[in-house]
Amino acid sequence: MTAVQEQQEQQQHTVTGPEEGPNEGRPLGYGRLKRKEDGRFIRGRGLFVDDLHLPGMLYGSVLRSPYAHARITWIDTSAAQAHPKVRAVITGADLETMGLAWMPTISNDTQAVLATDKVRFQGQEVAFVIAEDHYAARDAIELINVEYEPLTPVIDARTALHPDAPVIRTDKPGQDDNFVFEWEAGNKLATDAAFAKADVVVKQYMLYPRVHPAPLETCGCVADMEPGTQKLTMWTTTQAPHAHRTLYALVGGLPEHKIRVVAPDIGGGFGNKVGIYPGYVCAIVGSILTKRPVKWMEDRSENLMSTSFARDYHMVGEIAATKEGLIRAVRAEVLADHGAFNGTAQPSKYPAGFFHIFTGSYDMSAAYCHVTGVYTNKAPGGVAYSCSFRVTEAVYLIERLVDCLAHELGMDPAELRLMNLLRPEQFPYTSPTGWVYDSGNYPATLEVAMNIAGYEELRLEQIEKRSRGEAMGIGISFFTEVVGAGPREHMDIMGLGMADGCELRVHPTGKAVVRLSVETQGQGHETTFAQIVAEELGIPTEDIDVVHGDTDQTPFGLGTYGSRSTAVSGAACAVVSRKIRDKARLIAGAMLEVAPNDLEWEKGRWFVKGDPTQGRTISEIAFAAFGSLHLPDGVEGHLDAECVYNPPNLTFPYGAYICVVDVDTGTGVVKVRRFIAVDDCGTRINPMIIEGQVHGGLADGIGMALMEMIAFDDEGNCLGGSFMDYLIPTSVECPAWELGYTVTPSPHHPFGAKGIGESATVGSPPAVVNAVLDAIGVRHADMPLTPSRVWHAMNGGVEPPQ
């Protein structure tokens, strides 16, 4: 059987099941291996950026704007300079003399490091104080006097392009409005034609509100420009150490070999730690000026008010169908609020990220979307919070539209989905907007979810509850993710292609070290990547050291976001392992004095075909590689390999989610009673870690659907600036998740994996919203479905939030 036939065979036999089994002791390869990283964390011996204490270290603090839009007329830092513990005060004017007052964003826009002319959002960086301790730095920023001349802010994105709207980016030559970009995908004419012929068209405005990733560890760094060597070491909370190093070189003019970026343990990222923030640049400048290491850590309000937000998409979606419910086309008109500076992190070819996967999991003939990005007087950023480059907005749009269509047709939403889901024989499937979905067996996955849920019984229970006046709702979401960027020809950030390097060395005693370009923020790379090597080479996971997060120690790669670590670096890890296996075969042949082709592999050893007793383990081969064995021509005396993996296509994980809620009709309080999640992420390396990733994403979904929002008042004051106001789910809002899985390997990935990190964050919000709206019998209401918003939705309707 050829490899392709084998993959087709695998696809035809999608493996399904509920989650199972205890976490095992030590599987040699894939399995429920307990994590290698836990030992230090449960003892409080993790090393996070804020745990670093270097000799002579100083502390930075940022003075931020109280206004959303104002001209700076005067800054007086003399009182702060006079503080006995202050070592330096930096303003935008100081940075201007160094050419560092502005920096490029990762979307090829510019962003003020410290404001010079105007402030453009509340919380914008205005000055930076460096002092002997943290308390003194915070004291001293209070001593800086800034005079502002307030300007009218643009807060509602829907007014940003009005002719009389104040222009925010007066710094940009030729910019006389608040327009950022315009982008489209799909075929407009074909879509319009499909809509014209449709029996049923449903149209719905929906807002995906601005939310924040809010990792529990805020962003920060320790910058250390060593005066003797002129080498900068940057310990920082980054998901992409190599990209940061190159950007520091490009932006600051520092030679790249004189920059070392180290990401130690990272306390959650979720997209928040992809970009470069002004505080990092200020800390570097501070270290250059003071010739001492400078630490800067945000406080929680700074994190929520100034770093990368997510979503903020105003979407008008339309779906066209036959009267029987067959979907013909979808289209969307989107207004994207990008804040004051366009700092979104996504492949530069796609200003709206991967939003154009908005046809979702359904078979249809045409689709078209048009996205307009605008500036507002809000914090910059744009793509963050585990959304796989805007896939979460796309999934929310289509999954809400399908429920609106079911509502219109009076159909069961599960039945409508089963009627329209892509069929297994359609893969690889080219979507109307140009994606090539790699593999899938969608109906099987939805059926597993419906079986775990007991869907029919739930509907009967709902009827019975309704007869008693109780509001119980059942919400379904079926999502298709697109992750694992590149290929590098189509995916880059600031010209850096999305391909990942990997290096593997087997030491003489058979122990190994694998070096990755990606950076874990809790995903368990130290375990998972050791398992990949173990699976490929049979080296026990405890004998494999996984090195990551240090640009001096690891090969180049674009980092961990968009669920790309397993899909891209995982593939790289398998490829280098196979290179070593191939080389080991040559050495084993020399050891056994047989032709390499006469050897057969079993996990951990090569043996003579037909005589399994004659073999050499990988450990024996490693010793021989470094020993005195006469090696075959062209074989060097080591057991090392390296590679750069450039993915041929993205991977397309998917899943079926079902949420059951009870709504208190008197108060509007929503209780999530059950949540069933069946994910297909292709080949599963460590089911325990996969389940954990899904659990976290489901909690995110409950948060966004029910409580999270970065809101603003008309003056642009941020109303979500602390955890007292920006609510994220606790243990009591989350149910005991019920998981299942199917396995449909990716045909183009070296071991069939697809990625799982963001699936649940992408797939869960519409399931929760669909459930709440099903409970209260309302076609649409925007997130967050807080008790008051649910109550209003039940009692005459509710406006989108701001």
Binding site: N23, K34, R35, E37, D38, G39, R40, F41, I42, R43, G44, R45, G46, L47, F48, D50, D51, H53, H134, Y135, A214, P215, L216, E217, T218, D265, I266, G267, G268, F270, D299, R300, S301, Q521, G522, Q523, G524, M688, I689, E691, G692, Q693, V694, H695, G696, G697, L698, A699, D700, S722, F723, M724, I728, T730, S731, V732, C734, A736, W737
Partner: protein
């Protein structure tokens, strides 16, 4: 001023406004206790004071004078893990590890007060500790594991 942390007295001259979390992290050098929000909401700074779980980011260091403080570094005794620590690793109750010390100390206080909590009591008990990674289910399972294995303390 002296605070006893994990059985050791730490004597330092400090400003009256210094927060306990900073005393623990910066003056005593015990960085297992984290800081996360300033408003008592997230719980990553949770420590035990005389056995009670408190948020050290909203406690002045001087308020801890004369009290016994336990941090995550004090959970393991003579190389033997607390069942809560063992439960967290057995049940995959942690991912990034940032909330973990505070979560484990809250769990320890909960189990000391109620050795056989129901699932609802566990969820209520840890509702002052946020976790952005785990969705809480495996944290609950970890605490259930610890409750079920009070004497089977493993040494790993």
């Amino acid at each position: 001023m002296t605070i006893n942390i994990n059985g050791t007295d730490y004597c330092r001259n400090i400003e009256p406004r210094r927060l306990l979390v900073h005393f623990i992290r910066d003056d005593a050098g015990l960085t297992g206790t984290h800081w996360g929000c300033d408003t008592s909401n997230c719980g990553v700074c949770t420590v035990l004071m005389d056995g009670q779980a408190i948020k050290s980011c909203t406690t002045l260091a001087v308020m801890a004078e004369g009290h016994d403080v336990t941090t995550v570094e004090g959970l393991e005794v003579d190389g033997v893990l607390d069942p809560v620590q063992q439960g967290f690793t057995n049940e995959h109750g942690l991912q990034c590890g940032f909330c973990t010390p505070g979560m484990m100390l809250t769990a320890r206080a909960l189990l000391d007060d109620n050795p056989h909590p129901t699932e609802a009591e566990i969820r209520e008990g840890i509702s002052g500790n946020l976790c952005r990674c785990t969705g809480y289910l495996n944290v609950v399972k970890a605490i259930q594991w610890a409750a079920a294995h009070p004497f089977e303390i493993a040494g790993g």
